[in-house]
């Protein structure tokens, strides 16, 4: 199992290395994206202040940390479908799955590189936040943050696995990714607090795990909230994770079985 995961990691590292400009441009666009929020904060930051009072922070620290966090957990949501699609297009999906690799190991190995890369990006974000944008993260409650990260990553990875089932069965056209891409950022409080939304949309946002993730992150990071204060959010995230993880694993197994039955694993 370890040998198989390491083989995927090495392969993905070599492929990433073969695209020489990709990493540099990716890092540059992250930085410019943050700079945009920095100047939006200068212009309109005060308008947001009343909505951010409960988090004890300003607009820029809020959006910076939420976007960095969303980028990380978004890796879980997006990378399964993205990587599976890449394997389909290269014709290597069926060849890889012809080896004695269990679906669980395959899914872990498939996205291991993305998670490592996303962790590295998150570290760059944190360093840039502290040293360039002078964010004050001294109140952060690290154990609570670790729990939020773990439960959020598990929930989003499960959503990502659901999303990859559509890729296995339909190749293109992925409604799960469409919902994740279009609604999570808008309704989950990533770019502005959910309190800004009309009441009926706020109700809808409560159905999304990202809403609880972002709220818990902000409270733990800026106000130092611990497990007791984050009880509601952590329970909600745990329920999402415990429900979605086994369901998504079963759905992927069923989609794989169906693809093998229909002979479509090698199609794209």
């Amino acid at each position: 199992m370890i040998l198989q995961i390491l083989a995927f990691l090495r392969k993905d590292f070599l492929i990433e290395k073969s695209y020489k400009l990709s990493f540099v441009l990716g890092a540059a666009s992250t930085f410019t994206g943050m700079a945009v929020f920095f100047f939006i904060d200068k212009l309109f930051g005060r308008v947001m202040t009343p909505y951010l009072a409960e988090y004890g922070t300003g607009y820029f620290p809020y959006v910076f940390t939420a976007a960095a966090f969303f980028g990380y957990i978004g890796t879980g949501a997006g990378s399964y479908a993205e990587r599976l699609r890449a394997e389909q297009l290269q014709g290597t999906l069926e060849a890889s799955l012809a080896a004695p690799v269990s679906p669980a190991v395959f899914l872990t190995a498939l996205t291991a590189w993305n998670f490592i890369f996303a962790t590295f990006e998150l570290a760059v974000y944190a360093l840039a936040g502290i040293f360039i944008f002078k964010l004050d993260l001294s109140n952060a409650n690290v154990p609570a943050l670790a729990a939020v990260f773990f439960l959020s990553a598990l929930s989003f990875a499960s959503l990502g696995i659901f999303s990859s089932c559509f890729i296995l069965l339909f190749k293109r056209g992925n409604p799960a990714a469409w919902v994740l891409n279009n609604f999570e950022g808008l309704l989950g409080g990533v770019y502005f607090p959910v309190a800004v939304l009309p009441l009926w949309l706020q109700w809808f946002s409560k159905l999304l795990p990202v809403t609880y993730s972002i709220r818990a992150l902000q409270l733990a990071l800026h106000k130092g909230a611990g497990f007791a204060e984050l009880k509601v959010e952590l329970i909600a995230l745990a329920l999402f994770a415990l429900t979605l993880a086994p369901l998504s694993a079963a759905a992927f197994g069923a989609a794989l079985k169906k693809s093998r039955k229909d002979g479509t694993l090698g199609q794209y």
Binding site: E94, A99, D262
Partner: protein, 227 residues
């Protein structure tokens, strides 16, 4: 390892938009009532016109495709797809199932590792296969998207032979090979069948090619074994 297939049947679902749910028409018949026996140490030929069902049969025997009807037994015990994938190696034609931006040898390391082989084992096995397959040292270092069709075909054969499977399933293995490489490959699989007891199913259109290497040749037409 003895491989026996009984009454294999396969109908591909139609490609309508509801087909992923299995609700879209009757589909395309590909195999029907196929019985086949592959004995250890023997090379069995498989021939038939285009669309006869050769590749479907190979894919089912390799565990990549689940049949609609029938069973497959390994040494007398019924086997599922996963057991077949462990027991049989399939060599297909072309480069479309390799990572194009990796070198040939890095592709072999990757697929070898998926089968539990270390880099040293892959290197050692590749060294023994390189000469009979006619793989140049420089070809191993080239990226797959820079390989000729012939070199890619040799790489596909090397990948299938890398892991010492009990059965070898070959789909047009000599396609794109020059005469010398084709002869080297024929000699190699005859040697592997004799020495390692490999059960080989060799699918090809060319009767002369099959006559050179196969003890018996099975003909398939419209998804059914003839004779």
């Amino acid at each position: 390892m003895l491989i026996e297939a009984f009454n294999l049947g396969k109908i591909y679902p139609s490609s309508g938009w509801l087909s992923p749910f299995g609700k879209d028409g009757s589909g395309t018949p590909a195999l029907s009532g196929v019985d086949l026996r592959l004995s250890p140490g023997t090379i069995t030929g498989l021939t038939g016109p285009n669309g006869a069902g050769k590749s479907t049969l190979l894919r089912i025997l390799s565990g990549r495709l689940t049949p609609d009807t029938g069973t497959i037994a390994l040494d007398g015990r019924e086997a599922d797809d996963a057991a077949l994938r462990s027991a049989a190696a399939l060599a297909e034609t072309g480069t479309r199932n390799f990572y194009p931006r990796l070198s040939a040898v890095d592709n072999l390391y990757f697929f070898g590792a998926l089968h539990g082989l270390s880099r040293a084992e892959v290197r050692e096995r590749t060294d023994t296969l390189r000469e009979p397959l006619g793989i140049g040292r420089d070809d191993l270092e080239k990226r797959v998207d820079a390989l000729s069709e012939g070199a890619a075909q040799k790489l596909s054969l090397a990948r299938a032979l890398l892991r010492r499977a009990s059965a070898l399933l070959l789909d047009e293995p000599a396609r794109n090979l020059d005469l010398r490489s084709a002869a080297g490959f024929s000699a190699l699989i005859q040697e592997l069948a004799a020495k390692e007891g490999l059960a080989v199913l060799y699918a090809a259109h060319n009767p002369e090619e099959l006559a050179k290497v196969c003890r018996r040749v099975v003909v398939i037409e419209n998804g059914k074994i003839k004779g």
